[in-house]
Symmetry: D2
Subunit: 362 residues, 4 copies
């Protein structure tokens, strides 16, 4: 519930965008897992702001300080706790946002829910900045999954209606993803950037989709009904601000095509059962098939735009024009790519820890 996720692991995320710090605790992790902090930092840097011209110029180092759970480079069995102190805060005055909520933001719903006691500065606990601690937890899980031969990678699939290639569902091209602007087909990136820059120039913003693949998963992972892989992934991915849709495998195509086209025929290859296609996105009945797990998340355009918008004054209960100050990402999608990977890694690692499948054979 709330800012806590997980069955076997317990992730708890805390902090507000302009409060003293943000951070996370991650409980239930086995001892003896190696932690590569340099590799983690490289992962976190993919999400960090201010690195290029399509993201917000707010600069935060996002360098986690570990307060517990790690000793001499290995997990020690105690809860892992990490904190990132906020340094570059309060540069913009947010006082008026508390009275005049930004359309598309949580300003208004937080006001109603918390009765004015919420930390409104920079979106408070609802800020996209809270994805940094999510990436700490996810970056660690990703490392531990890699040790088990499980790889996770995501790419921008769409920005403002312009599509990258989809993953090959049988063999997702994780190694083909551009490390700077994460798409598969590099030729398509210029048009995407153009759309982002055009939106920025207009004081507007654009959304898009991110596609994520998990390869190397064993068959048989996941639990029936509400504990299925789709349920677990969707629950955490919807915890990423701006996500408004999640689909698995063939996704929307399922609503168009015939069963005979969508059922993945089984085959035997090198003495192993596999499938000739992967419309299922690696999941049947909520349980992994052993094929790559593939899903896509829809991101809405950043609601913070600099063009004038119609809002209301909560104190005066009358309409008021709002001009959002400060500079914001015109498109959150590029920086959200590692966040989606992090969310997937946490969900999958929790499923592995919780797995109750039998080892006996009848």
């Amino acid at each position: 519930m709330s800012s806590t996720y997980g069955e076997s692991l317990k992730l708890s995320i805390f902090g507000q965008s302009h409060g003293p710090a943000i951070g996370m605790t991650l409980d239930g992790i086995p001892a003896g897992l190696p932690v590569d902090t340099e590799k983690l930092q490289t992962f976190l840097n993919r999400r960090a702001p201010g690195q290029n011209d399509w993201s917000t110029p707010r600069k935060e180092e996002d360098r986690p300080e570990f307060l517990g759970g790690i000793l001499d480079g290995y997990t020690c069995g105690a809860p892992i706790a990490a904190v990132i102190y906020n340094k570059n805060t309060r540069s913009v005055d947010y006082a008026n946002l508390k009275d005049c909520p930004r359309p598309g933001h949580a300003d208004y719903t937080a006001q109603i829910k918390y009765g004015g006691f919420q930390d409104a500065a920079g979106g408070g606990h609802f800020s996209g900045r809270l994805t940094a601690p999510l990436c700490i937890a996810g970056g660690l899980c990703k490392q531990w999954l890699e040790e088990m031969g499980i790889r996770i990678g995501a790419h921008i699939y769409m920005i403002a209606g312009w599509e990258d290639n989809k993953f090959n569902p049988l063999q997702p091209e994780l190694d083909a993803i551009d490390p700077v602007f994460p798409i598969i087909n590099a030729q398509l990136g210029d048009e995407m950037k153009k759309r982002i820059n055009k939106a920025r120039a207009q004081g507007d913003s654009v959304g898009g989709m991110i596609e994520c693949a998990i390869i190397g998963l064993p068959a048989g992972l996941g639990e029936p009904m509400f504990g299925g892989v789709e349920s677990k992934i969707a629950q955490i991915v919807y915890g990423i601000p701006a996500v408004k849709g999640v689909e698995f495998g063939a996704g929307l195509t399922f609503a168009y095509d015939l069963g005979s086209e969508m059922n993945d025929a089984y085959t035997v290859e090198d003495g192993q059962i596999t499938a000739a296609s992967n419309s299922a996105g690696g999941i049947l009945g909520g349980i992994t098939t052993g094929m790559p797990v593939i899903f896509r998340a829809i991101f809405k355009p950043t609601p913070s735009i600099s063009t004038p918008q119609q809002s209301v004054s909560l104190s005066r209960m009358e309409e008021q024009e709002l001009i959002v100050k400060g500079r914001h990402d015109p498109c959150i999608v590029p920086r959200a790519v590692p966040v989606v990977e992090a969310a997937a890694a946490i969900a999958i690692y929790d499923l592995i820890l919780s797995n109750t499948q039998t080892t006996r054979r009848k």
Copy 2:
């Protein structure tokens, strides 16, 4: 986890398609809530099979027997338990399915997960039949929400690519939905039925989408991050067999349009804050805005089709042609409409019981 859902309420669903019974327990419900069993039966009948020519001819009464939790027409505070005995079982021989898994079904993943100990008959615990106890729980929650002025309704939005109208996101037309074939625009139903009947005639199947609206919700419901309304609804909706995608509000459109087009401007109307549009689907930051909550679920085509398919023999580890016997729904979407409503009702009622919003004002 697994077949258990909820924070404040605890739903547990049990049973296998061809086992002795299916049922559910629902714990954590306040005492003194009225239970209208006749109304519940009417709701369950919308899901029941064998009622018309576009669903499976397997006939089950789906008449729940309450074993606890209800006394003299009111909840008594003890866990609610209900059971439906399976009567019309074992008519088809499922022995061969255990060796030769149906493409698109959980047969293979269950075999791997449970090592051959699973109840394979009729899909066992993975059967769509398990949505009957989900509808018992959801039908009850729906009644209690109605007592609070909260209404839930769903309709077929798409079958095989053919679309019904979308809900008006400001005023979803719950009362316009056809009670027999649940669509908004009755004129579009014939084409949908035609596509279903054509698929049946070909021994094939089709999928689609269901759109659901929840109206009358207060603003401020839901918790931040992983406890948001989207996370809670998605988790349970993905527990419905065949669901492969869930989107909220404008959904896929978010990936195409500009922020200035998708942000819902606030207005003041009759002294109340409202919005001029509802792209957000009634949710910002995971918290309800007070506008209708709207979501859509993608359903894959029923995997059980009578045309020959390529599968494998697990014992012989070689490919084998499979012909699925028995008669099945060529399209599960019409019968799934109340199931989606039930899932939404359970998620929303749990959110209401768990709600921690302040009542003080600053």
Copy 3:
């Protein structure tokens, strides 16, 4: 929460004493575990009423009907569901108890909590009868633990101040426990029975203590802080009606003796680390030491006594003499012995399923 217990397994207990049925669902159990229903019945019979002269004459067969989760003698991975229909009900009129609560019972607290909507007959969901489904779940867990070499046994340690021997904490004498009247030192049983019979003759009741031992546990089981073995066992044992105290190992003696007397010195025996004493009751820091886990539960005297008691009329808000009709156990302790074993078995089996200890060595 409520009538639900467990982390990796999810036990949900339902039913009221005089409702249609009582039962349980047990989710999260691996597939392929053998189920010996005859052995389970033998276990349940130890709890069943009406078998001898120191228990209530209400006769219930307590023969569970399994509705799901078991196939051909093995768990199938689906939730296990079992039900016992109530047959011998409503023989006593409970209407007046709703207005005039029995001292020492949950009658009054249920009235306040549920506002008069509770099922008051026979104590409803608060009845000791609800320990029957607890014994179904616990009896199954006990079988699965035995397969792993883990044995659980309990005995009456005290009745009305008269003590049986305590277990030898290094080698609890599970095989010495009398199967009919479960004590270790058979010579002490006559005095206990005398005290029970004297209480019955006086229309009164007596309480006592039950001591339970779990042997064969590996070292390293349990989680830190709130997930420790003591926390897990205490939580479920306090779920047994009438339990008012739980202590581990040397228990109360810890409050009297010196650290030098209570610390268990480590020794090496046959190349294995062990301890020369077991004051810790097999648990240090919430984690098992590999020595027998030993705990004791205090049971209060059955509150239902036939001597006149002072109560109140809730409708008239005035004092009223109450004479509880019907015949009741003058001492619940003998029948509670298998219930304590069941609770321990569920807690331990859940801990085993949840165990996150590392397998690597530094």
Copy 4:
């Protein structure tokens, strides 16, 4: 599970005794609750070490730094996070303890569970120092309960067999407790201190009992079976290091006396239902009666004693004499008094947030 507690609130405790910091996150708390940090510090100081001659001379300020969840003196709805940096660490060399576990400590069980990867310094995550963050969470809950008219107080009931008065179960004397050495009957304190000092002089330690009372609770709080007040309190109190027993109300006396003596007769007083006695300790059927809730916790003697003890070398697998260096509390009981209050406050506040009782009357 593990270092996480709660249903509606989610407490997560992290840190190791000699790691960088200890701390906690507390999620699920309503917004708008006042936070008096000075009052909290006064509460924390009651637990802090080094304040008098019966506690360890390790000095830690235990001054929490809040990283989130509090704004301008009120909770803001976001998770509350607080951290205490460890300053006075590594003064003793703990390297040899990893090979030679202290009897009565978690050294050995942690070694087995975490395979040598644990943080052994100062007991790591198993240290009594982790009760400081428990007191941050509990101190806050205690404040919020006081706002509702609910008071919690505890006193030393026993040290080394020497007893203080028990609380009057009808009117616990919270205001009579000595603020420095927390007992009710001040005349009994000298003998207790004498026993502590004698143990210290001998290089030994003593245990005892703490009694806690909660007054002002409404009737009807708590959930049936495993969600009862006893289960909830016991689970968290057993999370305090050194606790080996918990009993409610008359406790052990229940195992001696007759039902007619232990049942609390109901009376009507000033138009209110109350009871003439409170053997039940304010709880019947797991639900509060409205009378004071009273419980006692047994604490074992501090295992760290300076007299030579027999242990083993884990690397050489042979017996070895151990002399524990450093100075330790000869009796943890006085400093544990606020810890017990904190644990009770968290359990009760969680029960209040989770409470599902009806408000309707039949």
